[in-house]
Amino acid sequence: MISQLTGTERVLAALTFLLLVLFGMAMAVAGRDDLIGPHGWIIALSGMAGIIALLRAYGAPEPSPSRLSEYYDDPSKAGIVLTLIWGVVGMLIGVWVAALLAWPELTFDTEWASFGRLRPVHTSGVIFGFGGNALIATSLHVLQRTTRARLPDQFSPWFVLFGYNLFCVLAASGYLMGITQSKEYAEPEWYADIFLVIVWVVYFSIYIRTLMRRNEPHIYVANWYYMAFILVIALLHIVNNLVVPVSLGHAKSYSLFSGVQDAMTQWWYGHNAVAFFLTAGFLGMMYYYLPKRAGRPIYSYRMSIISFWGITFMYMWAGSHHLHYTALPHWVQTLGMVFSVVLLVPSWASAGNALLTLNGAWHKVRDDAVLRFMMLAAIFYGLTTFEGSFLAIRAVNSLSHYTDWTVGHVHAGALGWVALISYGSLYALTPWLWKRPALYSARLVEWHFWLALAGTVIYVFAMWNSGIIQGLMWRTYNDSGTLNYSFVDSLVAMHPYYIARAFGGLLFLIGAVIALYNIAMTIREPRPVATESASDIPLVGQPASAVQAGE
């Protein structure tokens, strides 16, 4: 990757790595008897590794100007591999934490392997490690194809990819050591948060600079969603992570807000991390790869507009449905419920738009497991958003909240929607980028598809059962008017479902391992197609093609 940088960019890279070393060393010294110290070392060592890579490529010739006539896809390629690796790691930890609930001694008496420390490694590993890398890799690909413009430079995409993954490593290693803010899905501490803001600003700059140089008059729908993802995540991240650190040599910080204001801010963040990370970003993915793979244009342009602005506006009101019947004022709970229910309209407009796009291509869905991944993802998206609106109704929430039902709902979305659309998109994208005629094995894609579907269904059914049983047992009264079950009674009733859930997760994990193997073998296969992949749209300046992306 270094040899692709121009001279100026190599200087920029050197400065970046030097800054990492300096900041890392400063953190290591200032926090030598604090948990921030090891993180200083990780940052410094990653900077040193970068410097060594730079020095090794010192004499490499500068890239030729002819590079400008091609899209810049190498960061996307690296992102695909990172996505698959984070997926396996995050899901492996997920199976472990699921097993811990059934067999609590699987901590092996270590400090770092308790449920409380591993659980955020799982959530961050799959959301930020797997999901985030998938979004970065695909967004850079989609951005170039739909604008017919090359990325603005070679340095910034690598900076984003490298910096983002360093953030993920800091997050995951921090949880194991006990560094956490306790805010769900916003656990990393202040210094990692600041670092992510820098990475994110560069990510946004790539997007806006490419859009400004676009050779298509319109900005395609996929980019609306990717932009909403980048912008709103920045807004949420900054506001929810306002803290005062104990000192510059301490990892620990205290949040600026407390109590009810902090709770509302956290769930405004938490729910919209779902909305703009796990929904908007992946809708961007769906709006490009599904029509491309199906060979059909998006069914309705107007439905795209309505659902995009509906989601962007209404989701931001919905967070308070996480706080029904709590000490949050009633009026905020009511607002959250109303907007959550109405959200079903733009959500189903998106899901319907995707499925109607497949009209005329259903024979492909039958034959092509890659397209089937995307089709199933759209179905799960529709099911999960319906369930979400349903669970946000106050009376329903009184039963479901605090139970496994919520966990089941999240995984219907995370496994059924996010992971399936990601794997479908990556399966489509890999042969295009590496210029292979096809994936290494179509049979393995079939295996992955059915393992993923079976795993998701087992998981979700187990959690529906356990959640509803839990909720009912907690509120069951006996004839004498007292509560019928102790808390422990409900815990005992969960045991079989916790085993079933771990099994469902294991099936999904096996699918993720198969995907990693299949794509790795596709990359290694030494039979590149001689010509440009037929499905790719040339950059402007290349021989013009009749095909226009997404229009």
């Binding site: 709103v232 205290y254 931001m316 959250g336």
Partner: protein, 243 residues
């Protein structure tokens, strides 16, 4: 409307601004008034702050991710009030930076756990939950009794908490380390200082029954014993919202 959009989607900067404006409205309407409407948080004149030992214990509770399985928010539902106690009021977590309301009950709610069990029970339970509750699936924290509590920088923690709005005095900050040791060593001069600064009701005890050292177990148990007891207001106000 669609014509307007037809123009908007040809303008990158315009699109960016539109996204930011549209997305900001909901949070602004729902969050900003929580700081300005007085009824949002009840008044609790008897409310005290966490002692340094309790702050340290709370940080261990956070570090171990206890909030992932235990809520600290009793909802205004009849069965919850009967199971756990008076429903939680906003004021009870007004000194909680961050709040630990939680979102999942793999284990029971802890909003009223303070004073519910003895110190010995907590120590035995944390050491191996299955010794006390055979069906429990909670992790065992056997190592915690051996781990010395880091007390020397607690003053810095209190100062940071003061920066975010808690009423810690200079004296409290200056004596934070000694107060942490004192709270876990009854009948010493250091213990007397804790009562002076934080009130007579402060729970001073030999939490883990080990006189020789102040461990993380001491701090965590001290915190668990004060959860829900910074103020008595939830027990005094009428609980008229139960559904």
């Amino acid at each position: 409307m669609f014509n307007l959009h037809y123009r908007l989607e040809r303008n990158a900067i315009g699109f960016v601004v539109a996204i930011l404006v549209v997305a900001s409205i909901g949070g602004f309407v729902e969050i900003a008034p929580l700081f300005t409407i007085d009824e949002t948080v009840e008044k609790a004149p008897d409310m005290r702050v966490y002692t340094p030992l309790e702050v340290a214990g709370r940080n261990i509770y956070i570090r171990e991710g206890c909030y992932a399985c235990h809520s600290q928010m009793i909802r205004t539902l009849r069965d919850e009030v009967e199971r756990y106690g008076p429903y939680s009021l906003a004021v009870e977590s007004q000194y909680d930076h961050p709040m630990l309301w939680g979102s999942k009950r793999t284990g029971p709610d802890l909003a009223r756990v303070g004073g519910k069990y003895s110190n010995d029970w907590h120590v035995a339970h944390l050491n191996n939950p299955r010794d006390v509750v055979p069906e429990s699936n909670m992790p065992a924290y056997r190592w915690m009794s051996e781990k010395l509590l880091r007390t020397k920088d607690l003053g810095g923690h209190l100062a940071a908490l003061r920066d975010v709005g808690l009423p810690y005095t200079d004296e409290m900050i200056a004596n934070a380390s000694n107060d942490a040791i004192g709270q876990a060593n009854p009948d010493t001069d250091l213990a007397a200082g804790v009562a002076t600064r934080y009130g007579d009701k402060t729970y001073v005890a030999l939490f883990d029954a080990d006189l020789s050292k102040v461990t993380e177990m001491d701090a965590l148990v001290a915190y668990l014993q004060v959860v829900g007891r910074l103020t008595e207001v939830a027990h005094q106000l009428p609980q008229d919202e139960v559904e």
